[in-house]
Symmetry: C2
Subunit: 236 residues, 2 copies
DNA sequence: CCATCTTTGTGCACGCGTTCACAAAGACAT
DNA sequence: ATGTCTTTGTGAACGCGTGCACAAAGATGG
């Protein structure tokens, strides 16, 4: 993760546990699919299966939001969609800037999941002057030096970093200085941010390495000793 | 997450906790940076700062691997790089197929973090015949129907899914049937897989929604009551 | 109106992960 | 060799998250 409390120690006020917050988007997606099929109600069992979680966990998660179910029947799909959307803050508009318009940045700009939720791409930024003006996902790429004015003019509070690792910290500093308080970081670096700024990190390489670990474990289950021998290099 | 035990209930044998495994790549990255700067040793305090974690946590994590430090001095950087690499299974070669060569798939194919660790892109696959043969990151895109033979010939055990949501489950089924036992899923869908297959999911939209939640919380801290009023639609 | 049946909401126990705090271990100087 | 000083490795306490299991709530039918 990064410095500067990514999550507050214990969510105060109406205290929804962090683990629950992380699952709400999952439920929301499943519910949206049901809504599109005009399914009026759904039981915790069905919805849990669709979201890939335990039904008891789902009920407990919903209990943090309030008592929105009807015993003997289940949950009203539309009502629940609204409640979760509101809780997540998706009923309002979130302007977002994406910095670094390489393949990844372009993929993010084209991602449909943005607009459907409350997210709106306010601008695409890149340091390469050759990219400036080119259309990506219908939006013109603008030069990184416009960052400050764009963030201020559009009241952007969320920034997405899709730059190379070397540029990530500098971009972060500029975003934060301009007023951004939430950052989604795709660059493989630990970002340092002041208190009050949230950072979430998506790291491809890490995910693969975790898979490799389990894969090795699986492959080694047949053999006697999965770990190798003493390394050639000894500690000082 | 997905069906089919993503993580084993309690890691048996030399039992490295799942949370620790997830941090090992982080340490490895920080250590690699130190190694490139020819730093010989590092203390838990310094390394923890570089990785963005607590130093006590780092020491406990390392204690699961064995006693690789020297009291009063710290850890030997090269030695630790080797040990963690071996533990994660990065000393061997992991052939990977990437399915779905849109912007995201192309970004993944171009991602440098692959080759530097033990990962080798064995093939890029896409269902679009128009893409077939086009070079992406120096590799030719091949048609999805070659999936089975490619997986078999290269003994691929890890698959990366970067297709639209609609195609993800079918691709997963084919990958699993062909012998893949670890899947990294970028499509916004819950995948169902048989036991023994690991799935990890990276979901952009979910990360943004979590940020939005905290952002809303931050914005509402000034006001009296951050949650809105009673919704217009009432439950059945 | 009463009985039955379904499904929610939650009290409780358990296990994992985190953090503190300190004793043991070794380096290094004298 | 002895003492001091640094840093590791870990025992123990705590808190969060998960899942069981059941009582309460309400729908539904007779």
């Amino acid at each position: 993760m990064a410095t500067g409390r990514s999550h507050r120690p214990a969510t105060r006020s109406r205290g929804i546990p962090e683990a629950t917050v992380a699952r709400l988007p999952l439920y929301l997606r499943a519910l949206t699919a049901l809504s599109e099929r005009s399914v009026p109600t759904v039981s915790s069992e069905e919805l849990a299966a669709a979201a890939g979680v335990n039904s008891a966990k789902l009920r407990k998660d919903f209990s943090y939001l309030g008592s929105y179910g009807t015993r003997g029947v289940g949950y009203d799909v539309e009502y629940l969609v609204y409640q979760i959307s509101r809780e997540l803050g998706l009923t309002q508009d979130w302007p977002v800037v994406i910095v670094g318009i390489g393949n990844l940045g372009a993929a993010l700009a084209n991602y449909g999941g943005f607009a459907s939720r409350g997210f709106r791409v306010a601008a695409l930024l890149d340091a390469d002057p050759a990219l400036a003006g080119r259309l990506v996902a219908g939006l013109p790429v603008r030069h990184i030096d416009e960052l400050e004015s764009i963030v201020a003019d559009n009241q952007v509070s969320i920034g997405v970093i899709a730059t190379p690792a070397g540029a990530a910290q500098e971009v972060t500093d500029r975003l934060v200085a301009a007023g951004v308080t939430s950052i989604l970081n795709f660059a493989p670096t630990v970002l340092t941010v002041p208190d009050g700024v949230d950072v979430r990190k998506v790291d491809l390489s890490i995910e693969l390495q975790i898979l490799a670990f389990h894969e090795q474990r699986k492959a080694g289950e047949d053999r006697q000793d999965p770990d190798g021998d003493v390394p050639a290099v000894m500690p000082a």
